[in-house]
């Protein structure tokens, strides 16, 4: 059986124009491995939105990164102010990965 180890997965739903700022913060926190997924639309306290490339103002992207628990704590702390000021959604969970040394 292939060995797996537990790691933390952090997902942040972020406004597209804000993405460079988010990845820069992640970079500073030592998180250099991540994947971006597109979002189509959604609804929240600020009403409904849907991906609309013409305006672009309300496009959002799902930032997803797997890392050790330590780094996850650091990342969440580093992102704190940005999450707060821009009201971003952050989801953390525990997952298993193969070749844990990478993370």
């Amino acid at each position: 059986m292939t060995d797996t180890v537990a790691r933390r997965k952090i997902e942040v739903l972020v406004d597209a124009p804000l993405l460079p700022r988010l990845t820069a913060l992640a970079d500073k926190a030592g998180v250099t491995g991540y994947t971006l997924l597109p979002a189509l639309g959604g609804s929240g306290a600020g009403g409904r939105w849907s991906e609309d490339q013409v305006t672009g103002a309300q496009s959002k992207v799902l930032f997803m990164a797997v890392m050790s628990a330590d780094k996850a704590d650091k990342l969440v702390d580093a992102l704190g102010p940005l999450l707060e000021s821009h009201g971003l959604l952050l989801i953390a969970s525990t997952v298993d990965v193969v070749r844990g040394g990478k993370f």
Binding site: P17, G47, W49, E51, A57, S85
Partner: protein
């Protein structure tokens, strides 16, 4: 002269109306976002090229400078009374009022493009340099808006350099300016082989794009919960006042009726691309549902259907055509 009804019954405007009607009726008609975005980039490249080619043919002129100065001044000053009206009459807080005011100081490329189309069809083609004025007017109001917000409320200090960079080099400014320069270099001859795309297809593409804009604007209006009657009123009043001022300033600055009308249309129009993106970054407390509802769901349709013919005939009348 540019007739009102005739304009309203041209396919370009009718496709906009069709899109809006489909969205209000809750049809699932939708143009893929990537395609709509592609068409909008095409329209910017085309209008930029055509402006550049025209200026290459006619040469630089005093008009050009006058129009540029007038446009810059308008886009810096328009946010000030708009801000006051939004705070007092519109009952918005400082941050939201500043964000909305910035939208009205900036411009809408599609409104301009549609306006040029209508003016040309009516024999009142504006000068090619108006494209450069359009590009100039896109961003200054963002700075003014942020200054208003910082005066009126404690706003998180932003990395200024980053924002300025993002604003000045936003895609539509770069594409408009770049295409304008390419048009200048290429001239009539260089443009000829690409004219089938950038000239021949222009009106038809505009139809398809306005179909999408009708859908987008009407959907947004339907879901605009933050839009009060007062704010909707302002979103109609602003273009009327700003557009009239634009036409008057343009005429006073010595522009011909076509260019004066175009300046009025620019002044009347409100941004829904560059400014929202900048506000999302710099004023995240401001409500996008609000500023997009006003600029995109009310002012844009008003300008397409009423504003453009209005400012065109105003400019024609003043200049005595």
């Amino acid at each position: 002269m540019v007739g009102g009804l005739e304009v309203l019954l041209s396919p370009v405007i009718l496709f906009f109306v069709l899109g809006a009607a489909a969205a209000f009726a809750r049809s699932d008609l939708a143009i893929p976002e990537a395609v709509a975005k592609g068409i909008s980039l095409y329209l910017m490249a085309a209008i930029g090229l055509k402006g550049g080619v025209q200026v290459a043919a006619s040469g630089a002129s005093a008009d050009m400078l006058a129009a540029a100065v007038a446009g810059l001044v308008l886009s810096c000053l328009i946010p000030l009374p708009a801000y006051a009206a939004l705070r007092r009459f519109g009952k918005l807080d400082a941050v939201n009022a500043a964000a909305v005011a910035a939208h009205y100081g900036s411009v809408s490329v599609v409104t301009f493009v549609t306006g040029v189309e209508v003016l040309e069809a009516g024999g009142m083609a504006p000068g090619g340099y108006m494209v450069a004025v359009l590009a100039l007017m896109e961003t200054p109001a963002i700075i003014v808006g942020l200054m208003l917000a910082q005066r009126g409320a404690t706003v998180e200090a932003q990395p200024k350099g980053a924002l300025l960079h993002e604003t000045l080099l936003n895609g539509s400014v770069v594409l408009l300016t770049g295409s304008f320069v390419i048009g200048l270099i290429a001239g009539k001859e260089g443009f000829a082989p690409i004219a089938p795309v950038f000239d021949g297809l222009f009106r038809g593409m505009l139809c398809l794009f306005l179909l999408d804009m009708g859908l987008v604007a009407a959907r947004r209006l339907r879901e605009a919960r933050a839009l009060t009657a007062r704010l909707a009123g302002l979103a109609i009043l602003f273009p009327i006042i700003n557009g009239t001022i634009g036409v008057l300033v343009g005429t006073a600055a010595g522009l011909g009726p076509g260019s004066a009308a175009a300046l009025g249309i620019l002044a009347a129009s409100a941004s829904y691309i560059a400014v929202p993106a900048a506000m999302r970054l710099a004023l995240p407390q401001a409500d996008p549902g609000l500023y997009l509802a006003m600029s995109l769901a009310v002012t844009f349709p008003f300008n397409i259907t009423v504003g453009i013919p209005l400012f065109s005939s105003l400019a024609a009348r003043i200049s005595g055509q």
